[in-house]
């Protein structure tokens, strides 16, 4: 009990420090708790992401990172708390309405459709924002997708599938990307390429909420980091602090 209290206080204090990006918060999650049946997996989580900002969720397996992303997307419904985007409360909205409001989902299994071609995978979601990438731009930025546009989506390599999943939400015009472990299982050179893509997206004012186990990779792309443990935010760090404490954090996370 006492442990919890100190954790909350520390989080509360830290939350004020690095987020000083002005009032332009894009995603704002407050007081979020989530359950699977009787089991509570998130407790009173508060996070935010500003436009053009990359924010990571770091934590051990089972800390609640993916549940948090799914709750933001509206795929996990057994929650309390509020989720808003650009000041609009989305808590009661369905997943498809949230997607149309500008949240882009890139799941950890990439979520590529086997029964759709590469081009169809790109064209499936509706365009929801004027800043959406036209197909030509997607192909220009990801030439490999153009080359393989008529292949079934799942015939691509892991890295290509990851790019397709990201390209898909960019073509849709999502304002906030939810990236679940984009570097997982990919070769270093591909991971590097994904880092470049994230920086490109960031430059366009798109916000990114990134779940990442690869602390090194996270520190190369992110502005801020939330540490999750047992469903609570236990630390909130700017990227400089994060880098400075990298080895400590790695031990803490058991990675």
């Amino acid at each position: 009990m006492s442990d919890e209290t100190t954790t909350t206080e520390r989080t509360g204090a830290a939350a004020e420090t690095p987020a000083a990006q002005g009032s332009s918060r894009m995603l704002e999650v407050t007081g979020l708790s989530a359950w699977y049946g009787e089991a509570r997996v998130l407790t009173d989580v508060a996070i935010d992401v500003a436009p053009g900002e990359v924010v990571t969720l770091v934590g051990r397996n089972g800390a609640g990172k993916t549940t948090l992303l799914r709750s933001v997307m509206g795929l996990h419904r057994q929650i309390e708390g509020t989720i808003s985007l650009d000041g609009t409360d989305l808590t009661r909205r369905s997943a498809d309405a949230r997607a149309r409001a500008g949240i882009g989902w890139v799941p950890d299994d990439r979520g590529i459709y086997a029964s759709l071609t590469v081009a169809e995978n790109l064209l499936l979601p509706p365009v929801v924002h004027a800043d959406a990438w036209p197909l030509e731009r997607v192909y220009e930025f990801f030439p490999v997708l153009h080359e393989r546009r008529d292949f079934p989506g799942t015939k691509l390599s892991g890295g290509e599938q990851q790019m397709l999943a990201m390209a898909r939400v960019l073509r849709m015009g999502s304002r906030l990307l939810l990236l679940d472990e984009p570097s997982e299982g990919l070769a270093p050179v591909i991971v590097q390429r994904i880092g470049e893509i994230i920086r490109e997206i960031k430059g366009q004012g798109v916000g990114v909420l990134l779940v990442e186990q690869n602390v090194k990779f996270a520190s190369t792309v992110a502005d801020r980091h939330y540490l999750l443990a047992q469903g609570k935010v236990v630390e909130h760090l700017g990227n400089d602090d994060f880098r400075a404490r990298e080895s400590e954090l790695l031990t803490y996370l058991g990675m």
């Binding site: 369905s94 498809d96 997607a99 149309r100 979520g111 169809e120 499936l124 979601p125 929801v128």
Partner: protein, 289 residues
């Protein structure tokens, strides 16, 4: 050799009809995850409505071919809105049992109204008689039914592969949750797709009317063969349903030719073998662990 060719063509003719009949079952399972046991009863309704239209309103075969699927689409929409929808969130077994119960109600209702002996229906003018190709004879109507079925299957295939609606249906079939997360209101497509599947069952019923006994029980045996077709093809796979339809037609014809008593058992042996070797069927997607 000519006997073999004869049986092959007859098997293909029957297979085309099986493919069309199983198509709706596959479409409904694909999008809703519902194993629609009442597909056989809806097939029966399609045939019974055709017979009633002919007897009471003098509405013939060609009109029935258009009108009956439309009526059955409406019936499917009602069925989905009033019944199936409420059980979608539960284990698929609940909707299987619901549609099984519905089957018993529909069959009994038709028995009460029209008896058990069946209703008359004739081969439409111009489709009677046979054609001979060398030493092989086929009924004109069987050829028509097969070609018509193939055309419908191809049209449904094109609808699914070449249109935006088809793309959405395929995506919803493969991963409904993910498709919602990509901004598509999957629920909005559920009702029309269910109605469409039922309309296809009704269409198969119209096609069966001139050539099969139109009785309340006509779907009861048929649905079991259709289950075999979709299990062999892979539940939810449109291409699987079509290929397995022809396969079952051929296996049945050869069974009749060379071991008549076991003609139907052979189909289920084939089903058992396919399920043993490839549990998700010939064209079913293997689940990723």
């Amino acid at each position: 050799m000519s006997a073999f060719l004869q049986y092959t063509l007859q098997g293909l003719a029957a297979g085309g009809f099986y493919a069309l009949s199983a198509l709706g079952l596959a479409v409904i399972f694909g999008v809703l995850g519902v194993v629609n046991f009442s597909h056989g009863a809806c097939y029966m309704l399609g045939a019974v409505i055709s017979a009633v239209l002919l007897a009471e309103l003098h509405v013939g075969f060609w009109v029935a071919l258009v009108v009956v699927p439309i009526l059955m689409f409406g019936f499917g929409v009602l069925m989905e809105r009033l019944l199936v929808r409420w059980l979608l969130a539960l284990d698929p077994l609940y909707n299987f049992l619901l549609t099984f119960g519905l089957t018993l109600i529909l069959v009994e209702a038709v028995k009460q109204k029209y008896g058990v002996s069946g209703l008359p229906y004739e081969v439409p003018a111009g489709l009677g008689g046979q054609v001979s190709i060398g030493s092989v004879n086929l009924s004109v109507y069987a050829i028509f039914a097969c070609l018509f079925s193939v055309v419908v299957c191809v049209a449904v295939g094109l609808l699914l592969t070449k249109t935006r609606i088809g793309m959405i249906v395929r995506a919803s079939t493969e991963a409904p949750e993910r498709t919602r997360a990509l901004g598509i209101n999957v629920g909005r497509w559920v009702t029309p797709v269910f109605g469409f599947g039922i309309a296809l069952a009704g269409l198969a019923g119209v096609l069966a009317a001139p050539t099969r006994a139109i009785t309340a029980e006509m779907g009861s045996n048929f649905i079991i063969i259709l289950f075999a077709v979709v299990v062999i093809g892979g539940l939810g796979s449109i291409l699987g349903a079509v290929v397995a339809g022809f396969l079952v037609g051929l296996v049945e014809a050869y069974g009749i030719a060379y071991a008549p008593t076991y003609a139907q058992i052979v189909i289920f042996v084939l089903m058992a073998l396919v399920v043993l070797v490839r549990p998700s069927g010939l064209f079913g997607r293997e689940e990723v662990a």
